[in-house]
């Protein structure tokens, strides 16, 4: 899977789950201030990402540090790389 494919999967999953505008999915956007997610949505976000990538991340402390869409991309990228290794 290329990085762009991974980003597309993440963005599509979030767009579908949270009814976001696909054209506005820029990595620098805050998931709270710009995308309008709340703390309960982050729980759903974890479930969605686990479903999309078939991994378990709900216990990961790093999840709490995610602030932007780009942070999600980087987090998933690291997680996938760690699984391959």
């Amino acid at each position: 899977m290329t990085e762009q494919q991974m980003i597309t999967i993440i963005n599509d999953a979030l767009v579908e789950e949270f009814e976001l505008d696909a054209d506005e999915m820029q990595p620098e956007l805050s998931i709270y201030d710009d995308l309008g997610l709340d703390s309960l949505d982050t729980v759903d976000m974890v479930i969605v990402l686990e479903g999309a990538f078939k991994f378990k991340i709900r216990e990961e402390a790093e999840i709490k540090e995610i602030r932007t869409l780009g942070d999600i991309h980087e987090f998933v990228k690291r997680k996938l790389a760690a699984e391959v290794n």
Binding site: E17, E19, D38, S39, L40, I47
Partner: protein
């Protein structure tokens, strides 16, 4: 100035004038009336205040009646559970006032922080134990909501979070549906139309309107008690409401 403009001016003078009067009289009479409800029914303060707010909503319905055609449809009073979670679409500041048309008065509203800034309502909202969802954590909101439901009351959410400026239903947040699954209480979807004609966001002047409030069938939550069930419940309830709103609006436009 034509007749339509005169009617709008008359409506605004009438509605805002009488609403101001109702508010002042309501504030002055609340201690006496509240004490009466306490003696008569043995209710605690939040329950008493919620009943008074419901009566205030009924006063609103009477005030607007010369200019607003209002109709409640859907479930009969007896079929609406007292102990439930209402979810409703949000079009106008005045949506909440129409909740005086619901059969029960023990309704705790989940609201954002800005309504608490209206000093004339703030004390009532605080005494009624309304859930302030913006400045509280969701954990706190769910604990308070569960407490209301355990006492037999209902909680009302605007799952869109804020008023729709396009008239179209927006994305739903999950809080109401988490609370439904935690408490085991059913969800009762409500659909309202026409309040965006009465007073849309960003306008202060009222206009005559036809307002419809429909109480949709009760959604039991037992089939959603699994991991991620709140997400499915949220999607199913929203789908019901979208479909119903389309039919209501189609019927409304045919009637014009």
């Amino acid at each position: 100035m034509n007749n339509e403009q005169l009617k709008i001016i008359a409506m605004n003078v009438w509605v805002y004038g009488l609403l101001l009067l109702l508010t002042i009289v309501g504030i002055l009479l609340t201690p006496t009336v509240g004490f009466y409800f306490f003696l008569r029914y043995g209710w605690d303060t939040p329950r008493v205040i919620r009943h008074i707010i419901w009566l205030y909503g009924k006063g609103w319905l009477a005030i607007i009646s010369p200019f607003v055609s209002f109709e409640r449809q859907g479930l009969d009073d007896a079929d609406v559970p007292d102990n439930c979670i209402f979810v409703i679409n949000h079009l106008s500041f005045f949506d909440t006032y129409f909740m005086g048309a619901l059969p029960q008065s023990d309704i705790t509203f989940a609201v954002r922080s800005w309504p608490f800034k209206m000093f004339w309502y703030r004390l009532f909202m605080q005494l009624a134990n309304y859930l302030e969802v913006e400045d509280s954590s969701w954990q706190q909101t769910l604990i308070k909501g569960n407490s209301v439901l355990k006492q037999g009351g209902a909680v009302l959410f605007f799952p869109e979070g804020h008023r729709s400026r396009s008239g179209k239903i927006q994305r739903f947040y999950s809080g109401a549906f988490h609370l439904a699954l935690q408490s085991g209480c059913p969800v009762v979807p409500l659909c309202i139309t026409g309040t965006d004609q009465l007073l849309p966001p960003d306008r202060r002047s009222l206009r005559p309107a036809t307002v419809m409030l429909k109480i949709l069938p009760v959604v039991e939550v037992k089939d959603y008690q699994h991991e991620g069930g709140h997400r499915q419940l949220r999607k199913d309830v929203k789908a019901m409401m979208v479909k119903e709103l389309e039919q209501m609006l189609a019927g409304d436009s045919e009637g014009r």
